[in-house]
């Protein structure tokens, strides 16, 4: 029997972490992630969480503790947001280049200054090239389900990479919705203990005295450094097909799926496709419904896996469309929306005529309504028809 509870995204995450038999947790509080840390520590004090928890003095140390613990073959978890993620930057690279299957929740939040604790995706997108997988959720249930899938994916011997599970600050983290909890027996079947616990993987062990991470000189052994970087790239690419398989297995056991690398809505006959990440997708679905009634052939796509980027899927779905409209809840000053650039480079090699248009929307947690998106689609569509070119659209109050 499945239990349904009304949980905020943060509490759904904490429940899933509890059910994942994590060995070591180290995290530092930051709004809007704080409740995850609070929930886990109170479970620990109440004696219902087995994991060891280390209260660290910063996010850098949180990630450093995770790295150290993962080096002993443990399953480890942390959570952060915005400034905390930025503070971790160097260590994120250490974790990924050490091929450690750490799972972290990043609750997306804008970066200061000025202080802003509300949703924006710039924080995690700034870390897009450090070698972590990035998966974006759009509901509390999905976040809960993804925690198990992320551990499983991270720990696959053909992947062995850290995974960042991103969810929108407040819109998911603090919004309570019904969440169906999975029976522990099913979790244990889906997610057995970390394979690194028992097997012969080279982790820190006094009986196998190895040195990890000493200098590789380009003169003597430069090829090896190069090789390890290439292997990390290969592992990233492996994860695409592996994630599909993991989701299928999860679907069979639990009965829930969310699309694969992408989620989509009414795109098969669409001329115009709206692409977004996180909860913005829910708004784009409303827009599609409104515009379909007015005769526009619109569909929507949600990028779930941002790293590695699902180029092939984007190509397959967007090749014959008239226009791809990208909603970017992030900004790279001097470039524009980061997601739209990823889409542009994915479609470039197809040499299609599809127009790719970017709208930067909802920075700093500014609300983006169905109306805002609907108006944007209409304006952009008219401009395309009249061959009027325009740079970035800004969806702001």
């Amino acid at each position: 029997m499945c239990e349904i509870r009304i949980l905020t995204g943060n509490y759904a995450v904490a429940e899933a972490v509890k059910q994942s038999n994590v060995d070591v947790i180290a995290a530092y509080p930051i709004t809007p992630q704080t409740q995850i840390v609070e929930a886990l520590t109170s479970m620990k004090e109440a004696g219902i969480l087995k994991s060891r928890i280390i209260r660290v003095e910063s996010e850098r140390s949180a990630m450093a503790v995770c790295i150290g613990a993962a080096f002993t073959g443990c399953r480890v978890y942390t959570a952060t947001s915005s400034q905390g993620l930025a503070l971790m930057h160097e260590l994120l690279y250490w974790a990924a280049a050490s091929r450690l299957p750490i799972v972290m929740t990043n609750v997306n939040r804008a970066l200061a200054p000025p202080w802003n604790i509300w949703v924006e995706h710039t924080d995690s997108l700034l870390e897009r090239d450090v070698g972590w997988l990035q998966i974006y959720a759009s509901s509390n249930q999905e976040v809960y389900d993804l925690i198990f899938q992320c551990f499983k994916l991270a720990e696959l011997p053909t992947v062995q990479l850290p995974v960042m599970l991103c969810m929108d600050g407040f819109l998911i983290s603090h919004t309570a919705t019904p969440v169906e909890l999975i029976d522990q027996r099913i979790i244990d079947e889906f997610l057995p203990d970390s394979p690194y616990t028992t097997s012969n993987y080279p982790f820190l062990d006094i009986n196998k005295p190895l040195t990890y991470g000493n200098v590789i000189s380009p003169v003597t052994n430069g090829k090896l450094y190069f090789k390890y970087r290439r292997l990390a790239h290969k592992a990233m690419l492996n994860s695409l097909s592996k994630f599909k398989i993991i989701q299928e297995e999860f679907g069979r056991l639990v009965g829930r799926t969310y699309g694969e690398l992408l989620d989509s809505y009414k795109i098969s006959d669409a001329d115009i496709v709206l692409i977004s990440m996180g909860t913005l997708f829910n708004q784009t679905i409303n827009t599609v419904n409104v515009l379909r009634k007015e005769g526009y052939k619109v569909g929507a796509i949600r990028i779930r896996v941002f790293r590695p980027f699902p180029c092939k899927e984007i190509q397959r779905l967007c090749k014959y469309k008239q226009a791809v409209l990208v909603l970017d809840r992030n900004l790279a000053p001097g470039i524009g929306g980061i997601l739209s650039w990823e889409i542009k480079s994915s479609l470039f090699e197809l040499k299609t005529d599809v127009k790719i248009i970017s709208a930067v929307a909802g920075l700093g947690g500014v609300e983006v309504t169905t109306n805002d998106i609907t108006n944007f689609v209409k304006t952009a569509y008219n401009n395309i028809k009249n061959k009027k070119c325009r740079g970035i659209y800004w969806i702001s109050p």
Binding site: V56, S61, A69, T72, C74, Y212, L224
Partner: protein, 305 residues
């Protein structure tokens, strides 16, 4: 253990390591690892010891070594310990940090303080060569007054060395000691003693550096002994909140037994720009410090506030 001949004969820092000739750190490390033994995992942040290990795929260590980011060795160490505990593999194992002064006094101070406050079951060794040597002798907050470095190149550093010991003591470590490689028996005994305790332990080692301090490599031991004999580097330990001078420092409470600081300074090119006044300031500072050490030696109650 009283004699050098009783020091363990096994070598854990292997021949062929990449330290400079006369490296004080390599000498200290050799004796420390002998005292720690086989069942020891070492965390090493960026610094000379990243190089001393040798170039991948070889290593000069016969213990497991985990290289860490410059600022986070103490936190890596916490993670390794918690991981081993979670796997029931922590029994009779030492997990230690071996970090430079920059990694301890400066960039890693926060992670160090965090690990100390959590009373992490570790020994933290600070290998203090009084500058960022690996990047080419830049000044750190462990660099002493007047020393020439590549970032205090003409007149020498204007600030005093940071009093890291007081900072660590404020965390109430279960064991704290100072040592030098020139007195290996004292060093070796301190490591053996530290091993007997659990919780956070800190050992601060002065490591003379021939290129960084500008002296001929044959003087490493002489200089580290002079650091002690002049009273500049007092050897002591703090065990269960009790302060004790150790080894050759025991007799230095009497100022007459302390050699003049000039004997220590004159051997090192880094102090060549010191003026007479500055030297007397340094001497006065040492004498004042020994008054404080005398007070601590005679203290009956708890050392901590």
């Amino acid at each position: 253990m009283n004699k050098i001949l009783e020091i363990c004969l096994d070598e854990f820092l292997l021949p062929g390591h990449a330290a400079c000739a006369g490296c004080g750190a390599a000498l200290a490390l050799r004796h420390i690892l002998k005292a720690l033994g086989k069942n020891t995992i070492i965390i090493i942040p960026a610094g000379c010891s990243s190089i001393i290990q040798g170039v991948y795929p070889k290593t000069a260590f016969s213990n497991p070594v985990l290289n860490s980011a410059f600022d986070s060795a103490a936190a890596y160490c916490s993670g390794v310990i918690e991981g081993l505990k979670a796997k029931n593999k922590f029994k009779n194992i030492n997990v230690v940090v071996w970090a430079g002064d920059g990694a301890t006094f400066d960039i890693g101070l926060q992670a160090l303080s965090g690990a100390a406050e959590r009373n992490t079951d570790m020994i933290y060794f600070c290998d203090d060569n009084e500058a960022y040597m690996n990047t080419g002798i830049q000044s750190s907050s462990a660099t002493p007054l007047g020393a020439l470095t590549t970032t205090t190149p003409l007149i020498g550093k204007r600030e005093r060395k940071k009093d890291i010991i007081s900072i660590i003591l404020a965390h109430e470590p279960t064991y704290l000691a100072t040592a030098v490689s020139g007195y290996p028996v004292d060093l070796y005994n301190k490591v053996l003693k530290a091993k007997k305790y659990s919780g956070f332990r800190f050992i601060h080692i002065l490591s003379p550096c021939p290129p960084g301090w500008r002296f001929d490599s044959k003087y490493t031991v002489t200089i580290s002994k002079l650091a002690v004999d002049t009273g500049m580097w007092p050897l002591f330990e703090v065990v269960e909140s009790k302060f004790n001078l150790t080894g050759p420092s025991l007799k230095l409470l009497n100022p007459k037994n302390r050699k003049n600081i000039e004997t220590y300074l004159a051997l090192q090119g880094r102090f060549s720009k010191l003026t007479k006044t500055e030297i007397s300031i340094i001497q006065k500072f040492i004498d004042a410090r020994w008054e404080q050490l005398k007070y601590l030696t005679n203290l009956k109650g708890r050392l901590f506030l």
